[in-house]
């Protein structure tokens, strides 16, 4: 099995410009069913490169083509409305690739999609799953690829991957592949401070997937979510092989390292550094690789392959 995307995935693409077309074609070439494009002013036309219809509204692509997944590649200023439109249209999985979305827009989107409970948490049950923004998307090898992950570097298998960083994940998938280990589903959650799905949203699903035997998660500096994930793993799935990697040991506090969310606050306190995260994860019994290759090796070791 796999999570979030599979053989039943039917993709509508929001943002059918040059980039959107390039990646949608790759996704379709991989075997993903890309069923429609959506563009407010191009409804009724055909998306020539994909040979699928274009609808003015996502809701039309849902009713006419049975789209259940959206890939969003619209420019950042339009991303908030694109996500909300997909959610309103009843799309179950929304994969947002766009980078540079204002944090206020994402805070509004998140709290609209997932209403706040009285205890301050957010209700996600029965709500659409948003992945990203500023992420490479998700792939269930052999079944579907939605986003910009290069499908050729991995094969079907039983390791689940979740990561804030695209190219690091590619490296780990690639090395697993070289060792004969494939992937059930890999999800890039994105490097922004507010993203639709966090590590735990994905790991909880991987934990329930009978065909996922082990999990690799790739964190980085900033925030303290990695520790929360570690505590959940220690409590709920202590026997599942889980390996982590954290990037940014040499990142100076107060400087943003590429990703909008990758910043250790000035002074360096509060568990936001890579060293703090690694130490706490190891204390919880989770192996942490010293570099991406070592991380893949640890996973292979723990799976006894």
């Amino acid at each position: 099995m796999s999570i979030l995307i599979d053989e039943g995935t039917r993709v509508v693409v929001q943002g059918i410009g040059r980039q959107g077309t390039f990646h949608a074609r790759r996704n379709a070439g991989y075997g993903t069913r890309v069923v429609a494009g959506a563009h407010p002013r191009k409804g009724g036309t055909t998306w020539e490169e994909l040979d699928v219809p274009v609808y003015a509204k996502v809701s039309e692509a849902v009713s006419a083509e049975g789209a259940n997944t959206s890939m969003i590649m619209v420019p950042a200023p339009f991303t908030k409305d694109a996500i909300l439109e997909a959610a309103d249209a009843g799309v179950g999985t929304i994969v947002c690739i766009t980078e540079g979305v204002p944090v206020h827009d994402m805070a509004e989107v998140y709290n609209t999609l997932y209403p706040r409970r009285a205890d301050g948490g957010h209700d996600k049950r029965g709500r659409p799953v948003l992945i990203g923004p500023n992420c490479p998307g998700a792939i269930s090898p052999g079944k579907a690829n939605v986003g910009i992950i290069p499908g050729e570097i991995t094969v079907p298998g039983d390791v689940g991957l979740v990561s804030r960083s695209g190219t690091l994940t590619y490296q780990i998938m690639h090395e697993l592949h070289l060792a004969g280990v494939g992937v059930s589903t890999c999800v890039g959650i994105g490097g922004d401070p507010v993203v639709g799905s966090d590590f735990l949203d994905v790991i909880e699903r991987l934990a329930e997937d009978p065909d996922t035997a082990g999990v690799v998660f790739v964190g980085e500096i900033g925030g303290t979510e990695e520790q929360r994930v570690g505590r959940w793993i220690a409590e709920h799935i202590p026997d599942t092989p889980v390996v982590a990697y954290v990037a940014g040991f040499s990142a100076p506090p107060g400087r943003q390292m590429g990703h909008a969310g990758a910043i250790v606050k000035e002074g360096g306190g509060g568990g936001e550094t890579a060293a703090d995260k690694k130490a706490e994860l190891e204390e919880l019994g989770i192996a942490v690789g010293t570099n991406p290759s070592h991380t893949a090796e640890l996973m292979i070791e723990r799976l006894d392959r």
């Binding site: 290069p150 190219t167 940014g248 590429g258 990703h259």
Partner: protein, 386 residues
């Protein structure tokens, strides 16, 4: 993007957040003297730097008149505060203060919304207060789809312990502050201290403001404030090319594709005993042109003695990346530094073969990350010894 105090206060004034009487910014002691004369009484001279700890470093002085303001500015201009050189001072009429509190609002990645922090203890480091007297700090999560009404604002400042003389005005100020925070696409509005003046007004005595860089496309006035003059020349050049670049303090140039990957590369360089000179992300789809701009940027850094290029070929194949690196070096001509180029992923072997066969005297292909980092460290050491 962080704003200077004087810019933050101007922004506060625009939204109607009560603050100090307007002053002026001086870049010379003479200008400071003139501004203090305009103030017509005691003035405060404050170093404008984008870092904390200014008070302790001697960056805030109360001046009785123009002469003292001139001397204070002369002492401050050029001063180093936590690695930031003071290039300008704010001179504004001094306010008579009865009491000091703390108030801030920020975007919060944990609650996926906004957080308001208020305390009866102001003018000191809020994290210290939170550690030592947590009962004096109130933190409230706000739902961005709901915002903040006056009743809730009053509840926050009262629970923070602000006295009745200040609470009402502070609640009004907080409501206005929150509206401005959203309107300006801010990630931080911090007032420390929030002051109760001797004549009974509540005002922002300081302003620490950060704006979301991703939102500058719809904040044209704030975008103009982007302080490019204070940027390092290399960082300014990177900005022009749209590259993600952060200058670090070592001697090994680092570039790669993907933010996480570059961070990991820095880590491995450190693990191998080296010191990275920079963080440079050439981006996901790294075209030959971007590669040329990136290499030329790193190689023009005089501190750089060797370079580690760490690319994972996904959609962009490694054979094309190898050709891109060679093309870029061809355009740059003679460079003194040696490059270790680590290629992995799609067509990696072919990429490495292209590099080997080209036999460029400055380029060494590599397969493994740690080996590549060790080699870059070795080359850096060798060159800095000669």
């Amino acid at each position: 993007m962080d704003l200077y105090e004087h810019q933050g206060k101007d922004l506060f004034r625009r939204y109607g957040v009560p603050t100090t009487p307007p002053g002026g910014v001086a870049t010379t002691s003479g200008e400071a003297e003139a501004l203090a004369r305009d103030a017509g009484g005691p003035a405060v001279v404050k170093a404008q730097v984008l870092t904390g700890g200014r008070g302790k470093a001697g960056g805030v002085t109360l001046a009785d008149g123009p002469d003292q303001a001139r001397d204070a500015a002369a002492a401050m201009l050029g001063m180093d505060i936590s690695g930031h050189t003071v290039g300008r001072v704010l001179v504004e009429p001094a306010s008579d203060i009865d009491d000091e509190y703390y108030l801030s609002i920020l975007t919060d990645r944990v609650s996926k919304g906004y957080k308001v922090i208020a305390s009866v203890e102001g003018g000191v480091d809020i994290e210290t207060v939170n550690r030592e007297q947590p009962e004096k700090v109130v933190q409230v999560d706000l739902d961005p789809t709901v915002g903040l009404d006056r009743r809730r604002a009053l509840d926050i400042v009262e629970r923070a312990g602000l006295p009745p003389a200040a609470a009402d005005q502070a609640a009004d100020l907080l409501v206005t502050l929150q509206e401005g925070f959203v309107d300006a696409d801010a990630t931080l509005f911090e007032i420390n201290p929030l002051a109760l003046t001797t004549d009974g007004r509540v005002i922002a005595l300081d302003a620490k403001v950060s704006i979301d860089s991703s939102a500058l496309f719809r904040q044209p006035e704030l975008a103009e404030l982007a302080d490019t003059s204070a940027d390092d020349p290399l960082e300014a050049r990177a900005k022009e090319h749209g590259l993600q670049y952060v200058k670090l303090d070592g001697d090994i140039g680092v570039l790669g594709n993907g933010a996480g990957r570059v961070m990991a590369t820095l880590d491995v360089v450190s693990e191998a005993g080296g010191r990275p000179a920079d963080f440079l992300d050439v981006g996901g789809g790294a075209a030959a042109e971007t590669m040329a701009a990136s290499l030329s940027l790193v190689l023009s850094d005089e501190r750089v003695t060797s370079v580690l290029v760490n690319i994972f070929g996904g959609i962009t194949r490694c054979d094309l990346i190898a050709e891109g690196v060679l093309d870029a070096l061809g355009e740059l001509g003679d460079v003194p530094q040696r490059l270790v180029v680590r290629l992995d992923g799609t067509n990696a072997e072919e990429g490495r073969r292209i590099l080997s066969e080209a036999g460029h005297p400055n380029v060494e292909p590599a397969e493994k990350m740690l080996d590549a980092a060790r080699r870059a460290v070795e080359l850096a050491g060798r060159r800095s010894q000669t």
